[in-house]
């Protein structure tokens, strides 16, 4: 998100989901689309099969969507900046870029040109393993279209170079002029139902709702007025991935966790668990007794989505209604209700009649949501920005100009991932989700059928690597990194490419995140969950 915001001025998906079906070329990278966004993947598959749109997939695994691709490029883990610079090198050298767009709508092109000049396809091949001619063909395919859509997900962002990766994708799209048009754009696919909304609402350490900076005194003053208080902090707060080490060091004393399970989802779990145990006081508010909740001093029962009125904002910035269908179990309450109760007990009275009353306050303090009322989204949601009640919402961002004015090219050099393989840890590990489970499995593992389809963790490996280790599919293996080890069943699969194994992170019993590296992207604070070095052996 930080990467897109730096390039365009807004970190959200530039286009809509429906729009994907109108693209002439689609570039998917770092997204296992058919498993993680199945319904959205159908838009891509339909574009390819019905409209003969071209599809380029760049991914370290031979995931299902590669079957629909005109080209599948297989980069070494953590080398995204290199192949992206390489594609731009070809596009600029062969004069395939949109010179008019670059001239009128962007700045800092010369710096970009200078940097990508070093990334000839041959140089890129040595870094990424992608054959030079394949990279050239992909560059020509992408740049040769009328419009192109880029879809990406955590395979791009969960790297120490995650922000650089995203900026590079923005560079590529701007270079070809694929912004502000139908079927174009740079589109981050949000993995959780309301990640977009949590960001929009200011669930971030640096911004209030609507991305208003906390370190801007004018904003703070306005919020103080709206909330009827004084002394709002203008110091940027800690990111989630910074809170954990601060808890470890004893600087963070108390943590209130709502609906998250960092003890399965965080990198380097052994360290995370020690850190959380070091807190003076931990409150967990959730619908289940999660691995994290077990460590809490107080656990508070919340309603689930089927028991709530409210709104979610989906990956395409569309604010849609959530409606209460059933009564909550026992004494479970709305998350907002619990927080208001505690706030009032701490001396700042907060009270609302219902979720709609909260939305009315959100509209007053959040310019991009100002025009969104429950009445207007009764049947069909609205895409923000929607600045007033007459505004139809914004399906495509950056139409006439970028949110920040001109689109900003970033000249980016390649930096390798934080951890490399060596003699002791000779294999790369990457992690992700499966179709049948969701995140830490708290919800999906309550459905027997889903467990039947995906009962346990596994280590996905290529037939060649399995043979090299004299291991068979179905054997239990020990897999270790510098941070921990787990045992899991080996699964020989055509999805795996030799040298790299994959483990889904859903399963607490064989938690992939005991192995992963907590090294962070310096800007976004996102950990490098997608690359680390491991070793494999037969379990004793």
């Amino acid at each position: 998100m930080a990467g897109l915001a730096a390039a365009f001025g807004s970190g959200a998906m530039t286009n809509t989901i429906a729009d994907i079906e109108e693209a002439d070329v689609i570039l998917i990278t770092g997204s296992n689309t058919t498993e993680n966004h199945p319904v959205l993947s159908s838009f891509v598959k339909r574009a390819v099969t019905h409209r003969e749109a071209k599809l380029i997939v760049v991914d370290p695994r031979r995931i299902k969507i590669t079957q629909f691709a005109n080209q599948w490029l297989r980069p070494n883990l953590g080398t995204d900046v290199a192949w992206l610079n390489g594609m731009m090198h070809v596009i600029i050298n062969e004069n395939l870029y949109d010179a008019e767009f670059v001239e009128k709508r962007t700045e800092e092109f010369d710096a970009l040109r200078e940097t990508v000049d070093k990334f000839s396809p041959e140089t890129v091949e040595t870094i990424t393993g992608i054959p030079a001619e394949d990279l050239q063909a992909a560059a020509r395919l992408y740049a040769g279209a009328k419009t192109g859509s880029i879809l990406y997900c955590m395979g791009i962002t969960q790297h120490t170079s995650g922000t650089d990766n995203v900026k590079s994708l923005a560079n590529l799209a701007m270079l070809c002029g694929y912004l502000g048009v139908r079927g174009g754009g740079v589109n981050p696919l949000r993995g959780q139902n309301n990640v977009q909304g949590a960001c929009d609402m200011g669930g971030l350490p640096n911004v209030y709702s609507g991305y208003q900076a906390v370190d801007n005194p004018d904003v703070a003053k306005r919020m103080e007025g709206a909330w009827g208080i004084e002394n709002l902090s203008t110091k940027i707060g800690l990111k989630a991935t910074e809170m954990i080490p601060k808890a470890h060091d004893g600087e963070l004393k108390a943590l209130y966790i709502i609906g998250e399970n960092p003890l399965v989802s965080d990198p380097d779990l052994n360290h995370a668990e020690k850190s959380i145990a070091n807190l003076d006081f931990l409150v967990v508010q959730d619908i289940f007794m999660t691995e994290t909740a077990r460590l809490a001093d107080v656990v508070l029962p919340a309603r689930c989505f089927a028991e709530k009125d409210g709104t979610f904002s989906n990956t395409e910035r569309k604010v849609q209604r959530v409606r209460k269908a059933v009564e909550p179990p026992g004494e479970a309450k709305y998350d907002w209700e619990i927080l208001c109760d505690i706030s009032s007990r701490m001396g700042y009275a907060m009270s609302y009649a219902n979720s709609e009353a909260i939305m009315e306050e959100i509209r007053k303090v959040t310019p991009s949501y100002a025009g969104i009322t429950y009445g207007r989204i009764e049947n069909e949601g609205l895409h923000w920005p929607c600045p007033n009640e007459e505004h139809p919402g914004t399906q495509i961002l950056h139409r006439d100009q970028f949110t920040r004015g001109k689109g900003l090219f970033h000249a980016i050099d390649y930096t390798p991932p934080a951890e490399k393989t060596d003699d002791e840890y000779p294999l790369y590990l990457t992690t992700g989700r499966l179709l049948y489970h969701y995140h830490t499995g708290t919800m999906t593992m309550k459905t027997e059928g889903l467990n039947e389809r995906a009962p346990e963790s596994f280590v996905e490996i290529s037939a060649e690597d399995a043979e090299g280790y004299s291991l068979k599919s179905g054997e239990i293996v020990k897999i270790a990194s510098r941070r921990g080890e787990i045992t899991a069943r080996l699964k020989v699969s055509g999805k795996a490419v030799s040298g790299t194994v994959f483990i889904p992170f859903h399963f607490a019993a064989a938690a992939a995140n005991k192995l992963t590296n907590a090294a962070l992207d310096p800007v976004s604070g996102i950990p490098e969950l997608k690359v680390c070095a491991v070793k494999l052996s037969k379990a004793a």
Binding site: N194, S265, M346, I362
Partner: protein, 377 residues
């Protein structure tokens, strides 16, 4: 309006756009032509022929879903000839399998024998699992077609129940092909197709393997589009009848696509989930988690009361006690170590309204900007 782009349906002159079928023009003008195999967002196949209409000058009745409108066409959608044809099609379909909806006819012992045989096959003493929710049954009523069997039909393929989500009941399949189109053209999962042609047609996955051993990803699009009782959600089969439930429209809680869904509620339980057709972003499509993965809502493991840990174990507490404890602890730590010693992780799972309150609480009450969520994980 010029004659160049008009047709006449049931005496009304109607305009059309090039490329539109007779059915498109009829639907646009609220003329009800029945369909079974026709599937929006897929290429018309005309295979079921229930949508036939009479076109002046044509030798045979035309399938309106697959016949392009041509200027000057004169069309009747409910002529005697059309009605007779539809009745025959419906009766053939009804007698092709276990359609025990008891609509009309079945003189004497025939019905009893038939019903007993179907009950055995279904392992249930109820009428068809989609009774009251079946397009073939609706048509049988509309055209008052007897369900007296026209020919003795043997169902050559046993029911498939070995996967956790979908029951495939070939005895009720009318081979309209909607499921095949939904799988191949709408979701593009390419898991099922027509197999064993010429008289013994069956919808097959891979080389006629059970769905669980095929490319099927259990999105359930086939179940959603099946006009009869051949494909039914396993959990809802015989347990959920549409008149017992209320549908509540909401947004799916899994990934960021934000599919629009209906929660079907019976006795305060979500018993079934379907997609909202004609609504963006999903046009009724769902994935396996959204359609079949909602058991967690009523899990007995749901937290029901506040819990306070004492000597390493949790005990139940009242809301007052728990909230007082949290408020006091946070106030004390804030006073002793300062606001920045506190933090809150809000959630990408809860609503916008709740996220707004979470950051407001952190900033206005705790007086720190230490608020974040798991967007990065």
């Amino acid at each position: 309006m010029t004659a160049e782009n008009t047709i006449m349906i049931n005496g009304n002159t109607l305009s059309f756009e090039p490329g539109e079928t007779i059915l498109d023009v009829a639907r646009k003008n609220s003329i009800d032509v029945p369909t079974l195999c026709h599937l929006k967002r897929a290429n018309p196949t005309g295979v079921c022929r229930i949508c036939v209409v009479e076109v002046e000058g044509a030798h045979k009745l035309q399938a309106s879903c697959a016949t392009p409108a041509v200027a000057g066409m004169v069309i009747l959608t409910e002529s005697n000839k059309v009605i007779e044809a539809r009745k025959l099609i419906i009766q053939l379909m009804l007698s092709s399998g276990n359609h025990n909806c008891a609509i009309r006819g079945h003189a004497g012992d025939d019905w009893t024998a038939f019903q007993l045989q179907v009950q055995k096959s279904d392992d249930s003493d109820e009428l068809c699992p989609v009774w009251g929710d079946c397009q073939l049954q609706d048509l049988a009523y509309r055209y008052q077609v007897s369900s007296d069997p026209m020919l003795e039909t043997q169902i050559p393929y046993p029911m498939e129940t070995v996967n956790p989500f979908i029951v495939r009941d070939f005895s009720r399949c009318i081979q309209c092909g909607r499921c095949v189109q939904a799988c191949n053209e709408v979701q593009v999962n390419l898991a099922i197709d027509f197999g064993y042609k010429s008289g013994a047609t069956k919808i097959v996955a891979a080389d006629d393997k059970p769905l669980k051993d095929s490319d099927c990803v259990f999105c359930g699009e086939c179940v959603a589009v099946c006009p009869v009782g051949a494909l039914v959600e396993k959990d809802a089969r015989y347990k959920v009848r549409p008149w017992e439930t209320q549908k509540v429209r909401t947004t799916c809680t899994y990934c960021g696509v934000g599919c629009q869904i209906y929660l079907h509620v019976k006795d305060n339980q979500v018993v079934k989930v379907t997609g909202v057709e004609d609504a963006l972003p999903n046009h009724g499509s769902l994935c396996v988690k959204g359609r079949f993965g909602n058991d967690f809502i009523h899990s007995p493991e749901r937290l029901q009361t506040p819990l306070i840990k004492e000597n390493g174990n949790f005990r139940e507490a009242s809301w007052d006690e728990a909230l007082d404890l949290v408020a006091n602890k946070f106030s004390r730590i804030k006073n002793e170590y300062g606001s920045d010693s506190l933090g809150l992780l809000t959630s990408a799972r809860i609503t916008n309204e709740e996220n707004y309150i979470a950051q407001k609480f952190t900033r206005a009450t705790l007086k720190t900007n230490n608020v974040d969520h798991c967007a990065r994980l």
